[in-house]
Assembly symmetry: none
């Protein structure tokens, strides 16, 4: 297939001659018996923050939703298409995952756009503008804060947005009930691209605490 | 953070003591200079089909959207939240990716649900039911097809859905224009979990052809 | 001296039989030739953040001002007593220090009081209330921020206050001129009592960056 | 952080690899539970007279105010910033310290300036001149005393200034009341940099008596 990007083609061949050889049987079993991932990760599309890489995860482990700024919208049982809500419903109701991780990261372009008072729509559809509207209220509180640096505002909103998504997760009846029954644990995490640090949200204080690597 | 899943914690520590050591500088540069991924991959949430794994991709290479059944909805510039459209807009307009891959795979749970005439809503919200409505018309044609086996119907719809998403991609003015100008290439791919095969869509015939590994 | 606290008496005897023995000559020389400290540290009175301890500094090294929340007021050449301004003037003009460090720390009681909307005066004089007025404007911006946790607001104001003090330092003509001539360097630092981390302010971005210990 | 002074950086690393290792848990507890220092020390900024060093004190023991010549101004409940009064109020009213030490030392630069009839302002603001005005009356008496040597005059004013600060301490209603109730003890001390001697004020006679080391 000449038109297929060479980089990906080479990458695929590395996979087949490398990792796949060791995991051939695991893939076969996962194909026959179906997937039983233990964890749902809601992560960002960012090319620097792939959950499988950061958690060194193999096939079958993580069911992964990736959207801009790793956000979960509130429960809206209307007639619309809801990509993230559909994935959440599938992971929780069909796959019965035990843990849900909302995983953000530093230098997030979506969060940056939400904080930029002069941000222009990227296209007439302004899909990013609308999508980032999920954190508009918080963004406005942080945006107006002239005493924090740009980086401090960015990091603050990245973490606030994780807490916001976790709050939205709990507006889904199936999540709320299963969490109350102790069937599901919800976690927040923030990855620092610059130095590889992983910060995890304390369930009580909601603060983010750096993990010892 | 006691409550954080041990599997992920250990995985993260493997990452830090392994791969990260070799890529420390790459992460630092990607943090300082920002991401410039060459490719947008629209993939499935399935735990067995992570693009970074299959394409052996490192940090900074792939901007990845993951939703159930790797679908792209049509262009709908309304007031709603559109997770996938927002990611598409960001990848094309802000990051200027050169290639877009719609990547499906075998044994897709979403496609299976779309083909199951007796599928029940997974929750009162029926988010999966609505989301899979994106391939309803095609699904109905395949569903009624009694001369194909279950597996043939499944594989057929998985590939039809990829073509459907590629058609939807072209309803986005920014994608259409940039493709016409030769600035963007759109590709279809299908990964066979059972044996690791990657099948790529022929741009002319739209058939899926197995890559020689 | 029976009334003198036993703890301090014992501590002094430890000093004389321990460290002083090794530094006897150093003290004698410092007495004869006078002090020539290389650095002025403006630190907090907090019992957990003594600069000599954190920087493992011996006699003669650090000229140390300590007030609540390690603050520097703006230049006010009026008829009043200005404790901090007097110490600053003495360090810069008489001792010719080369570096000035404004050193804050986590869990600062003064900053906590400034952020507490229900803080009562500690005495009719309300000296703390007036003193913390030096960061009132910033405190109000942070206080109103309902999307950050208590700890996030506290840490943010601790760091903002350091930047604020550094800005006030530069309102002193002698500091401004000597800094412009490259005779003095001004630095910000923040000590995390909980884990011993020292975070240092980046002169360009004004962000605080953790030092590798 | 390249610009941060190497001496301090090395000192901090000594602290972390040395003393901190032994006191890690103590710092953690002091962070979680807050500080409860038993003593307030009002000391001089002088680089040769750090209270933590002289009293061999660890984290959490001493709440330390340091200004030029370890002085306490009289109670002035006006609208001004009062650095020392604020620290005093916080130590007595919020932290409930049991002992207050006003600690002077030999070779004090501030006292020397107060005794020098030809002292020039160090800057147009003359902050030291105004601050030392707190002992002007006493200084004038000693200054004119031609039968004492320079060193005798210096030592005399250093000790007079300690008594003067103790008298000012008692103009603060909260200090006066708590001392009368036996909740607080006030002490004077004078450290001789040249030979490490600590001289303590006799509460009755107000004389300074050398401690046996």
């Amino acid at each position: 297939m000449k038109s297929f990007p060479t980089t990906l083609l080479n990458g695929y061949r590395n996979f087949m001659s490398g990792r796949y050889v060791a995991e051939r049987e695991r893939y076969r079993v996962l194909a026959d018996q179906g997937q039983k991932p233990h964890t749902l990760v809601i992560a960002c599309c960012d090319s620097r923050a792939a959950p499988e890489t950061i958690f060194d995860a193999g096939p079958g482990e993580l069911f992964v939703v990736r959207n801009v700024a790793n956000m979960v919208p509130p429960y809206e049982p209307d007639g619309q298409y809801h990509s993230t809500s559909a994935a959440l419903e599938f992971a929780v109701q069909a796959l019965r995952v035990k843990d849900i991780i909302v995983m953000g990261h530093g230098r997030c372009g979506g969060i940056g756009a939400a904080l930029d008072p002069n941000a222009e729509p990227l296209s007439p559809g302004d899909f990013i503008g609308k999508w980032m509207g999920l954190v508009r209220t918080a963004a406005e509180q942080i945006q107006g804060n002239s005493v924090m640096t740009t980086t401090e505002r960015q990091t603050a909103l990245e973490r606030i947005s994780i807490r916001n998504s976790i709050a939205n997760l709990r507006t889904f009846p199936c999540v709320k009930i299963l969490e109350e029954r102790g069937k599901i644990q919800i976690h927040g995490a923030w990855f620092d691209i610059a130095n590889g640090e992983l910060w995890v949200m304390d369930p009580q204080s909601k603060d983010f605490v750096r993990l010892e690597a």
